[in-house]
């Protein structure tokens, strides 16, 4: 058994890590920590985690987190570096936050306004070289939810050289992506029946991460116009991505590029022709649905992906990466079966 602590376990990301660990055959759930919810029971804050209902959140400290094989961090950005430094190099630290995702310190500082903490192996195994970077790792930076959905949709096109280095992405996310923060625009009364964009114009913090992922594959800087949209649903990201087609592209070539890289992937599925991803079909699962079209008149290739932002987009990706790092079967404790309708 692998003994696992979760820091920030009272939030949505931490709760999803716990939900998955409860079904993971090798996981033994150890310390659960929180900030303002410390002292409350899991049952009060995360009533869906019935098997843990009587457990109590402790305050997040290095001492409480010590003595585990794996520590998941689901904390506000900026908090992970100091904690990780205290956990020892043999502990696998899986950071669901942003602190160690970016390679470029300047980009980090521009978007996050603080000093760059460093770069850890990136927890998106389906990227080229992604799986290898995670084997045996003891530090993992879990990707952002949007970068997961967008990178998986677009990188195969860049790998196959089918599109120009300028992508346009509009991605709708369920409200859990914004966490449990008490903000007026996240109230149910405001959210239900309404859609609204935010972070428009290239200012969302996931932009440099998406650019980093696509540029690495393309071998040149890919510019990305990214617009996130808050959607009236609790979970799910639907990323509608497009890029200008290079001359000579065909629909078959696009489909071939996706099938080539995802044919052997456990969690990414290129849908049969004519069917399009829906977030409802992947809720609660680690599955990624992908489909593409070549719009000849507009000269663009459109790829749409659907994920559960909390599962594949955060906690599922984290567990998948943990499995790889520990040498376990990659899909242990994860599923491609969604909870629908």
């Amino acid at each position: 058994m692998v003994r696992i602590a979760v820091a920030g376990a009272s939030g949505y990301a931490g709760g999803e890590v716990l939900r998955l660990l409860l079904g993971h055959p090798h996981a033994e759930i150890g310390a659960l920590t929180a900030d303002s919810n410390a002292g409350r029971t899991v049952g009060e804050v995360q009533p869906h985690l019935a098997p843990l209902a009587g457990r109590v959140f402790e305050k997040t400290t290095p001492e409480v987190l010590a003595g585990h094989d794996v520590v998941f961090l689901a904390l506000p950005h900026g908090a992970s570096a100091a904690l990780a430094a205290e956990l020892g190099p043999d502990v696998l630290v899986v950071d669901c936050g942003a602190d160690f995702r970016l390679v470029d310190a300047g980009e980090w500082e521009r978007f996050y306004g603080s000093a760059h903490a460093g770069t850890w192996p990136y927890g998106l195994p389906e990227l080229p070289g992604g799986r290898e970077a995670l084997r045996g790792a003891r530090r993992i930076a879990v990707p952002g939810c949007y970068p997961t959905a967008v990178s998986l949709a677009l990188w195969p096109l860049y790998a196959a050289g089918l599109v120009e280095p300028e992508a346009v992405v509009v991605a709708a996310s369920g409200t859990s992506g914004a966490g449990r923060a008490l903000k007026p625009h996240l109230l149910g009364s405001e959210v239900m029946g309404s859609m609204t964009p935010y972070g428009v114009g290239g200012v969302h913090r996931h932009v440099p991460e998406i650019v980093q992922n696509l540029s690495a594959v393309a071998g040149e800087r890919v510019s990305v116009s990214f617009t996130p949209v808050l959607a009236p649903m609790p979970r799910g990201i639907l990323a509608t991505c497009s890029a200008r087609a290079k001359s000579g592209v065909t629909a078959q070539a696009v489909r071939g590029a996706l099938e080539k890289v995802y044919g052997g992937e456990e969690f990414v599925r290129v849908l049969p022709e004519g069917r399009w991803p829906s977030t409802g079909a992947v809720v609660g699962s680690n599955a990624v649905q992908v489909q593409a079209a070549y719009d000849e008149a507009a000269g663009r290739v459109v790829v749409v992906s659907a994920i559960d932002n909390l599962t594949k987009g955060t906690a599922g990706g984290a567990v998948q990466s943990m499995n790889i790092a520990l040498g376990l079967p990659e899909g242990l404790g994860l599923s491609t079966t969604g909870v629908a309708p």
Copy 2:
């Protein structure tokens, strides 16, 4: 391994049976049948069941269903008897429909307008004697979703002799309870942002089933005023149940009655005082949340229960009953962890 067929696998109930069987360590999924969807792939109709995406629904016939250890029937009422008759006495037939739930032929005829097919062991193990009736059974009648939620809320009060034999129930259900039928009032445009009752005034077909369950425990006929309400959510039943308190009742006695019968139950949880059930906390799980209050001024005991109508209310109850009938651990393939938020 247990070889299992599912008839009516393209509907919501059948789809949920499949979702659970995909996570059941002893289940080997055999024939999948449908009616109008025969010939289509699972992926087209149930896109969330990714591991079965390439499977094709066959037409529902006794021949296709033959040769399995267990056959789940998720069919319109009236269709089960003829099929079951052809399946042989050694096959475990688990009927998610209504045909074999009622003991009283007259009640059946009054509410269903057809001849009574008979009565099978009733798949609600948490009722007194319920588990015993299922051990070794080869025919099981899965309870209705509302009767599951309501009976589990109220029977302990009757068992403890705390309330009069007249209950009032208002139960809100997610839209999946109405199945995949193409009816105007089930369109998303109609359902979202709206609540509406139906089957008001004692005419809903689940009324005699609720009366049967509660009367059996009370030892006298319990009258039930039952109002189902269609709610703007895909899954979940919240049943608000009350009954006139007998004299001398106390809040402690009420709580004690619930804790006494549910203390050892795997799936039913009496919430800590002050917390109330929410359907969101049990989505996708076989869990039942229960809480009670004694309203002294109104002279009534109020018990509220929450279930997932498709899981504990249908497919989960079915799998739980199958496990008991086959001598497997009762909770195999089932979970008390909900998918939230």
Copy 3:
């Protein structure tokens, strides 16, 4: 023109008052006040009120509210008495809060924990004598949203002597009924896809108000078991109400009792037989839909009503009452046309 101020105009109730006043041919909108939102524009806080987008909320003080013909108060309970005292006896003060609804000081103190401020004419014109009490009034207590829905459903049965003095009510409300308070359980992520009760067991503050209304009609104390339920929709109340039938009751008598009192009402509509109220049909309107059934087997009469909690349940009832008090046509600025689907 009637010059009108709205105190608490940045909340949901205050915003709905403004929405209606914008369509009221005699209303001239004067001061708009707020508490924590003072200094912000209407456009920032209430983006749907486009015609007022550039207006700025002032701090709620008697001075700012002075000089208007009508002042609507949409404030937390306890704040209205002091303000009203400063506004002068000729100003029509319409209090959307609870402070002046209850006649019985003891009940007030029991449920609100503070000293009773007094009793004002009650803004539910459809109650017996309700309209008369409002004519020429200069102080109006707008009913609670639940008491509006429940009283309109049940009082005709008591007026006709058809039912016993013990009612059971389960009422589902959209989230706007809880206001704009930043509470975790009101977040969209928590609310969507979930139903949960609250204030169970006779402790909700609307209980004494419902009892007061029904008892006044019945001529004896009516006990009420009341369970409010939070529903995944922004607006609407669906109240499922029942009471034990007296002997000799018939379905016709029930229907007759409703039609007799509502035949001439502009806003309350007894639906044709076989159709049931839906909250979606009354969104944004001042309409009340009512339908009843007599459940002979259970011995109960069931009446269901649907309103928009913010319109007829709060701001619409307030404007209707204002119209009566000022001698204007009762329906001015109000509508029975819902915004659907």
Copy 4:
């Protein structure tokens, strides 16, 4: 008074026309026709239209529609031409369908697969020359809902010469945009909690209409990559539109381009800087919210617009156009106040 008939009055578009006409001071509602709902009451099919509840839908025939000053057609495409031909040249025929929107017969045939019926004055007054084309018109083609949202977002950029002739649009629509058709993917159970694209890759029928509108302003063919997305809400379109910036573009120039053309418009509002459109704010209103950003790194201008697809996107645009054609004040019977939350 203007005597008005509505053909196809039992659908969502027809119902919204009626909702608006009920609040239009010059409208006298005449014949209401339907197809499969002929013979049913308005109350049964459109329960929110309480003032018309007792009216009965007649079969759609030229005879029934004769004798009105205005006839609104809300019919499946292909049905309008024959009816209009019988209505006489002095009757104002306002077609909410697609039949007369496109100028290019080849484009019509490519996207609709039938012979081109012709081109009528286009009911989008905010386009250059749009208002003039409608004055005195007796035939009006109401724009599609997506083209309304997209054209209003992007045309000012083309008018100002700020962007290249290649736009990328992702637009999420509420389910009412798909009408009341009984299709499995429109069931509430499927729609709630899920987002899914459709008509991807340039095949949606609104593509040539958007191209037509933008190209007319740009003076050259604008290519448009358009992806519509079905969103879990009944109403609203959020259109996220972008186009490659020409060199020298600045954020001020973008804002200036929008403010210049919309400063005097009653229904289109450029939001203050920092605030973004939300569909919830415009529900039930004829308002259009617009906001823009210049993403220098990506080299694109992003404009987002929000409308109610049934109001400004269909019936509101139709009534607005009718008002202009008849010489009435353009905003009569319309509002910029949304129904929120």
